[in-house]
C-alpha cells in the first residue's frame, strides 16, 4: 500500500495536569502541559499552594523573631536564609561581627550547602531511577543534621545564626564532629560519582536535556548553579565577598553545556569546594572567643551579670521585651545560597519591627524559567529538568 492511500490521520493535542500532589515536583508545583504525543507543546506553571505570607508576618514580629520565620522559607537551606537576613540587618545597624563569628558562619553556611545539595542529589537521582543514590546521600545528610542538633538542639531549623552573631557558643566536641564529617565525606562523594557520573543510563537521560543558554540564564535571573552550568562564572562569594570569603582559597566550578548533566557536574564540584572551604574555616575558628558582637543594643548580657548587676538586668529586660531597634534605612546584602543568589531586602522605619522584608528567592526565578527548559522536549524529561533546577516550593511561595 502506498503512502498516499493512507487516510489523513486526525491528531489533537492532549492537556495533562501534573501536580500539585506529584512527588516529582518537589512540593506543590502544578504544571499544565499540552502534549503532542510525548512532545511538550506548551507548559504553564501554577504556584502559590504553599503561600503562607511570611513577608507579611515578618512585619508584625520583632527583628530577632524574624529569624525562625525566614529559616522556614527555603527549608533545605535554613542557615543560608538566616545568614542573609542577619547580614542585611547588620549592614543597616552598621555592626561588624567578630572574626571568630565570621568563620563559624562560613563553616555553617558551607555545611548547609552540602546538606542541601545532598537532598537535591538524592531526590534527583531517585527520580531518574537511581534509588541507591538517595539512600547514600541521606546517610551523609544525617551526620550534618546531627551537627545541627549538636549546636542548637534542632535538626532542620537551628535558628543558630542571630542578628549580631550566634545564639550561643559552640558546644563541646563540635570541632571533632565536623572534622570527622569532612574526613569521611570526600570518599563518599566519590561513591556517588561512581554511581552517576559515567552511568550510561543517567547520561542518556540528562545530556542535552533542558538546555538554557548563557544569555537566557542571565536575563531570567538564574544567577547561581544554573547559570554556572551555562557558562556564567558568577558567584556572590567571589564577586561581592562577605564574611571574609575573599581570604579563602576555592574555585567556582563552571560548565558550558547548560543542560541537566552539567548542572549535576557543577553541583557535585561545588560540594568538593565546600569541603575545602570548611577545612579552611575550621582551622581559623579559635576554641574560645566571642560568639556575638559586644554591643549592648543587640546582644543580651551573660546570665551571671543579669543576676548580679542592675544595668545588665535592665538591658536584659529591654532586649527581651522591646527587642532590637534598627535605624531607618534599607539594605540588601546577598549571599550565595545553595540555589544561587539569596538575599533579603529589608526596610526599617527606625523601630523595633521591620517595615518590609523581601526575600529574593532563587527558586521563584528558576520556576519561572522552567517553561523555557521543557517546551519542545519529551514528557519524561520534565522530571529530570525539575530535579535539576532544584526548586524548593517553600522558597517559591513564601
Amino acid at each position: 500500500m502506498t503512502a498516499t492511500a493512507m487516510p489523513e490521520l486526525r491528531t489533537e493535542t492532549m492537556t495533562v495536569n501534573m501536580g500539585p500532589q506529584h512527588p516529582s515536583t518537589h512540593g506543590v508545583l502544578r504544571l499544565v502541559l499540552e502534549l503532542d504525543g510525548e512532545t511538550i507543546r506548551s507548559a504553564s506553571a501554577t504556584i502559590g499552594y504553599l503561600h503562607t505570607g511570611i513577608e507579611k508576618t515578618a512585619e508584625q514580629k520583632k527583628w530577632q523573631q524574624v529569624i525562625p520565620l525566614v529559616e522556614r522559607m527555603d527549608y533545605l537551606s535554613a542557615q543560608s536564609n538566616s545568614l542573609a537576613f542577619s547580614l542585611s540587618v547588620e549592614r543597616l545597624m552598621g555592626v561588624d561581627v567578630p572574626e571568630r563569628v565570621r568563620w563559624i558562619r562560613v563553616l555553617l553556611a558551607e555545611l548547609q550547602r552540602i546538606n542541601s545539595h545532598l537532598v537535591w542529589l538524592g531526590t534527583h537521582g531517585m527520580e531518574l531511577g537511581a534509588v541507591s543514590v538517595m539512600l547514600y546521600c541521606f546517610r551523609e545528610r544525617e551526620l550534618l543534621l546531627n551537627i545541627n542538633e549538636m549546636i542548637a538542639g534542632f535538626r532542620m531549623f537551628p535558628s543558630y545564626m542571630r542578628i549580631g552573631g550566634l545564639r550561643e557558643d559552640l558546644p563541646r566536641g563540635f570541632h571533632q564532629a565536623v572534622r570527622e564529617f569532612l574526613d569521611r565525606f570526600p570518599g563518599k562523594l566519590d561513591e556517588y560519582e561512581d554511581l552517576l557520573t559515567r552511568n550510561e543510563i543517567y547520561m542518556q537521560r540528562t545530556r542535552g536535556v533542558g538546555v538554557i543558554s548563557k544569555d537566557e540564564a542571565v536575563a531570567l535571573g538564574l544567577i547561581g548553579p544554573i547559570a554556572r552550568a551555562s557558562g556564567v562564572s558568577y558567584d556572590v562569594r567571589r564577586v561581592f565577598p562577605y564574611l571574609g570569603y575573599d581570604a579563602l582559597d576555592f574555585e567556582v566550578p563552571t560548565e558550558t553545556a547548560g543542560d541537566v548533566y552539567s548542572r549535576y557536574v557543577v553541583r557535585v564540584a561545588e560540594m568538593r569546594e565546600s569541603v575545602k572551604i570548611c577545612r579552611q574555616a575550621l582551622e581559623r575558628i579559635s576554641p574560645t572567643g566571642p560568639y556575638a558582637v559586644d554591643d549592648p543594643r543587640i546582644t543580651p548580657p551573660p546570665k551571671h551579670k543579669v543576676y548580679t548587676e542592675m544595668e545588665a538586668l535592665i538591658q536584659h529586660f529591654l532586649l527581651y521585651s522591646q527587642g532590637i531597634t534598627v535605624p531607618a534605612g534599607e539594605a540588601y546584602v546577598p549571599v550565595e545560597g545553595p540555589r544561587g543568589e539569596q538575599g533579603f531586602y529589608v526596610i526599617s522605619d527606625g523601630t523595633n519591627r521591620p517595615w518590609r522584608v523581601k526575600a529574593r528567592s532563587p527558586s521563584l526565578l528558576a520556576c519561572q524559567a522552567l517553561e523555557r527548559m521543557i517546551v519542545g522536549g519529551m514528557i519524561a524529561d520534565v522530571i529530570a529538568v525539575i530535579g535539576s533546577i532544584d526548586v524548593v516550593m517553600g522558597d517559591v511561595d513564601r
Binding site: I47, G48, H51, G53, E55, K56, Q60, S88, R91, L92, D215, V218, A219, L220, G221, I223, V232, Y234, V239, F240, P327, G329, E330, A331, Y332, V333, P334, E341, G343, Y345, I347, W355, R356, K358, R360, L364, L365, C367, Q368, D397, R398
Partner: protein
C-alpha cells in the same frame, strides 16, 4: 567604578529623564526615577556600554501608607560583566498606582511583577500576563498593603453536599456511559 560615577553615566545616558540620586545606607548606588521616564531609563540601564545591567536580580515594592506617594517599586540590577549593583526606585501615588512593565526588557520581571500586582495592587502597563501569582484568583484585596488587616475573622464556609435522588443518579450514570461511547 564607584557609586557617583555609575549614577553620572546613567544620567548622561538619559539626558531628558528625571533621575535623582537617593541616599543609601548599604552602599549600593540608588536612584529615584520618575514613573513616566522609567522605561527609557531601564533600557539605558541594560544597554549602555558603561552600565550593562543584563540581570534583574530582584523586583519588589514597599508600601509607605499613610504617606503619599504611597508606593515604591524597587528594582535591583546586577551587572555580571562589571561586578556592579544598582537600585532603581519609582515612587507611585496611592490612587491608581501603575507603572510601565519591564517584562519586555528582562523576562525575569514577568513573575516578579505579577507578584507585586498580587500583593500590593500596583498595576504594570502592557504586562503580557497580568494575573495574580501567589494568592487565589478570586482573592479580594492585596495582602502586603499596610492598610490590609493582619488577621481577618471570617465565618467558616461549608459547601452543601450535592443532593440527588436515586433516579437522577441512574440517569446521570446512563448519560455518562452514552457520552463515553
Amino acid at each position: 567604578m564607584d557609586a557617583t560615577a555609575l549614577i553620572r553615566s546613567l544620567m548622561e545616558g538619559a539626558p531628558g529623564a528625571h533621575v535623582e540620586e537617593a541616599p543609601s545606607v548599604d552602599g549600593q548606588p540608588t536612584v529615584f526615577v520618575e514613573p513616566a521616564d522609567l522605561l527609557a531609563v531601564l533600557k539605558i540601564v541594560r544597554d549602555a556600554p558603561a552600565l550593562r545591567f543584563s540581570c534583574l536580580a530582584d523586583l519588589t515594592a514597599a508600601d509607605f501608607w499613610p504617606r503619599e506617594p504611597r508606593f515604591e517599586v524597587v528594582y535591583h540590577f546586577l551587572s555580571i560583566e562589571l561586578g556592579q549593583r544598582l537600585r532603581v526606585k519609582v515612587r507611585l501615588a496611592g490612587a491608581d498606582a501603575h507603572v510601565a512593565s519591564a517584562a519586555s526588557i528582562w523576562p525575569a520581571a514577568q513573575w516578579l511583577e505579577r507578584e507585586v500586582w498580587d500583593l500590593f495592587g500596583v498595576a504594570f502597563d502592557d504586562h503580557p500576563d497580568p494575573r495574580r501569582l501567589l494568592m487565589p484568583e478570586d482573592w479580594e484585596g492585596h495582602p502586603l498593603r499596610k492598610d490590609y488587616p493582619v488577621q481577618i475573622r471570617m465565618t467558616p464556609r461549608t459547601s452543601e453536599p450535592m443532593q440527588v435522588t436515586e433516579a437522577e443518579f441512574r440517569a446521570n450514570l446512563q448519560r455518562d456511559r452514552l457520552s463515553r461511547r
